[in-house]
């Protein structure tokens, strides 16, 4: 077990290096850089930009250095908590991201828990009552949940809330709490708002997990050992909970790995629609305005989050299922 964890942690290092390189390439991809966009914008308003100002700006942001120097200063800066400077917001990136990243993480984890809590009873019911009306209803909603794009679900929920209950949903806080520091009242207000994004983002994952749990449980329940136990008169409940369910539960852990990227993906787009103060809207803006340090930091940090999530799920899985360790 120890060597397994060590191996996985060591594998993390090349992955993280690769992530940083890919992110750096991505932020370098657009033709020109923020500075050229910025100067163009200034010139469009009629201001004259003299060469010395441009040179000073270029020097200040290290844009005259060769690419690899820019890369290394960017990466080593990150270790010190310096993520560069956001040209658009005129602030250090680190001041902009942590709050939003925290909210993204909070929503993702809540959604994960929601996915588990909802899919467990439905998956078990669906498998034990195969081909019943309940199973068909669950399967039907499962497929709809898989097929409907996240943002459309968000729009429809907003529409229903607006037209049927005259509620304006969106955001994560009431205006009164938006700028306030954390307190119990703010937390309650937050919980009142968080359920909509959680339901929207969680639907497709829940649908997938119900399908997996159902399929696994059905596989397991047709195995000879279960048939034997049933023939010997073990009660159905005990029969289900003693072994098959435990084996069928494995995907709950293993999906943490691949559901985290999905959750963060979903969160990004839903946040734009619902106007949440999380990473999504800011990432979109920064990409559109080529605010490269901000965009790059988001991509690196979101990727690191998912890689760490995958690592945790791998370790949990190995702990749960000894067959994987070897």
């Amino acid at each position: 077990m120890g060597t397994f964890i060590l191996k996985r942690v060591l594998l993390l290092i090349p992955t993280l290096i690769f992530i940083s390189i890919v992110s750096f390439i991505i932020i370098q991809l657009p033709p020109g850089d923020y500075l050229t966009t910025y100067i163009q914008a200034l010139e469009a308003t009629g201001a004259t930009v003299d060469q010395s100002t441009v040179d000073a700006l270029v020097k200040r942001y290290g844009l005259d250095q060769p690419l690899y120097v820019q890369y290394f200063s960017w990466v080593f800066g990150m270790f010190k908590g310096d993520f560069g400077y956001s040209f658009e917001w005129d602030k250090p990136v680190s001041e902009l991201i942590w709050n939003r990243l925290f909210l993204t993480l909070a929503i993702s984890i809540t959604t994960l828990l929601f996915t588990w809590i909802v899919s467990f009873p439905f998956g078990v019911y669906s498998a034990t009552h195969r081909y019943s009306i309940g199973d068909y209803i669950i399967t039907f909603f499962g497929f709809i949940g898989l097929a409907i794009p996240n943002f459309m679900l968000a729009l429809i929920l907003m529409w229903i809330a607006y037209s049927a209950f005259d509620l304006s949903v969106g955001g994560l806080f009431s205006p009164a709490y938006a700028e306030a520091s954390w307190s119990l009242a703010k937390l309650i207000d937050f919980l009142k708002h968080i359920w909509i994004p959680v339901v929207v983002i969680g639907t497709s994952g829940t649908a997938a997990l119900i399908r997996t749990l159902r399929a696994n449980l059905l596989d397991e329940m047709n195995k000879p050992y279960v048939v034997t136990a049933r023939a010997k008169g073990v009660s159905e409940r005990r029969l289900l909970f003693k072994y098959p369910l435990r084996v069928a539960m494995i995907p709950f852990i293993s999906t943490v790995g691949w559901s985290l990227p999905l959750l963060i993906s979903g969160e990004t787009i839903v946040a734009v629609v619902l106007n949440l103060p999380t990473t999504g809207p800011l990432l979109l803006r920064s990409l559109q305005s080529q605010d490269m340090y901000l965009a790059g930091s988001f991509i690196v940090l979101l990727s690191i989050l998912t890689v760490i999530g995958t690592l945790i799920s791998d370790i949990l899985l190995a702990w749960l299922d000894p067959r994987i360790r070897s």
Partner: protein, 391 residues
């Protein structure tokens, strides 16, 4: 594709499996003798036919693709034509029974518009005094069919008056026509993207599975890495890097290739695992002993036996492409107007107020959901049919 294939594996497999086959329900609609002589593709077809939902989905998809292929002919209007008098007009209802009693030819009532003095919005009421019969093959806006034949015949339309079966948008453009044109782009993004993913997946997955060792290790790491990056942020970043001055066609190919950059990993995994398991099969060993070359073994013996699995995996990969394109275009970083795709159309319905007042702008979304669901069901059916020997 459906040529009969009778290599050693098939006969061998059949002989082995005939006991279970005769028990299977497959015999219900075909006499057992036929099973012994049926080709693998025929067995698959029989099994697929039993999956009613998959067959239905297949038919639905064919219809949707026909919509896309013949959108110029099928749409009543030019999708970019402004009907300025009819901005945000609600969908008209097709009627058979009107003031003058029943008529076999369906018709729509006209719309009377007035500007609400308080909200300054144009409001529409049904004008029952005007009946516009819906005709087939009517003369309308001239267009070039597939950019080749010039004609002005539209499949449906009205000779006078208006026909907005799915309403109009902000500029008074016909939503039905735009949905049909959108089908062409949105559905072809899926096909083209999957084709690129497949080429990448087969080459990389095949190399990884056939050679194993260090190549395999590197490829597996790469796939794992690509799969743990959240896709939407990555796609957003890559599409935002597409220059704004690119012509629409190049943006279209750019977006599709970006979507396939992640898509190939799933297919590569399938190809690799199939290669790994087939490499150990006896018929591969037999071919090797008979002196067949490497290329011949791969192309002639291995590829045909996992082709069906690949087709099923492709079908299951297409909906992700469609959803990806829709999401990106909706956010404004994928395809952009004047290109018409379902995602671009949904961008019109971006805020609650618009949806509350003009819910028909969400209709393109119904097409997205229908296409995605149909591909999923079809893929499920194909996957079950891909291995006709398993019950």
């Amino acid at each position: 594709m459906f040529r009969k294939r009778r290599d050693s594996k098939n006969r061998d497999g059949l002989a082995k499996q005939n006991a279970s086959l005769s028990l299977s329900a497959m015999t219900a609609d075909s006499p057992p003798e036929e099973i012994y002589v049926a080709s693998q593709w025929k067995l698959m077809w029989w099994k697929f036919k039993k999956h009613k939902l998959a067959v239905f989905s297949g038919v639905l998809l064919i219809i949707l693709y026909i919509f896309g292929a013949f959108c110029e002919f099928l749409s009543p209007y030019d999708p970019n034509e402004y009907h300025t008098k009819y901005a945000y007009a609600p969908p008209q209802v097709i009627k058979f029974v009107g003031e003058n009693g029943f008529s076999l030819r369906p018709f729509v009532y006209g719309l009377k518009s007035s500007v609400n003095r308080e909200t300054l919005r144009r409001e529409y009421t049904v004008d029952k005094s005007k009946e516009y019969p819906i005709r087939f093959f009517v003369k309308g806006e001239p267009y070039k069919f597939w950019g080749i034949w010039e004609t002005d015949i539209h499949f449906i339309g009205t000779e006078e008056g208006i026909l907005f079966l799915l309403g109009t948008d902000r500029m008074g453009r016909d939503v039905l026509s735009r949905v049909l044109y959108g089908a062409r782009i949105s559905l072809s993004v899926g096909l083209f993207g999957v084709f690129v993913s497949l080429v990448l997946g087969i080459i990389i997955g095949g190399l990884s599975g056939y050679f194993g060792g260090i190549i395999d290790l590197i490829v597996q790491r790469l796939i794992e890495f690509l799969r743990c990056i959240p896709t939407i942020p990555l796609w957003m970043a890559l599409s935002a890097a597409l220059p704004a001055h690119w012509p629409p066609l190049r943006v279209y190919f750019g977006v599709t290739i970006i979507l396939s950059l992640i898509g190939w990993t799933g297919l590569a995994r399938v190809v690799r695992s199939k290669f790994l398991s087939l490499r150990e099969e006896e018929f591969v060993l037999a071919a090797k002993l008979a002196g067949a070359g490497r290329m011949r073994i791969v192309v002639r013996h291995m590829v045909p036996s996992f082709l069906s699995h690949i087709i099923a995996s492709i079908t299951l990969a297409i909906p992700n492409m469609i959803l990806g394109e829709t999401s990106l275009s909706f956010l404004g970083v994928g395809l952009r107007p004047p290109v018409i795709s379902w995602g671009v159309l949904l961008k019109e319905a971006q805020n609650v107020r618009t949806i509350a007042l003009t819910p028909w702008l969400l209709i393109p979304g119904i097409f997205v959901v229908a296409a995605v669901l149909a591909f999923n069901f079809l893929g499920d059916g194909l996957r079950d049919a891909a291995d006709p020997y398993v019950r």
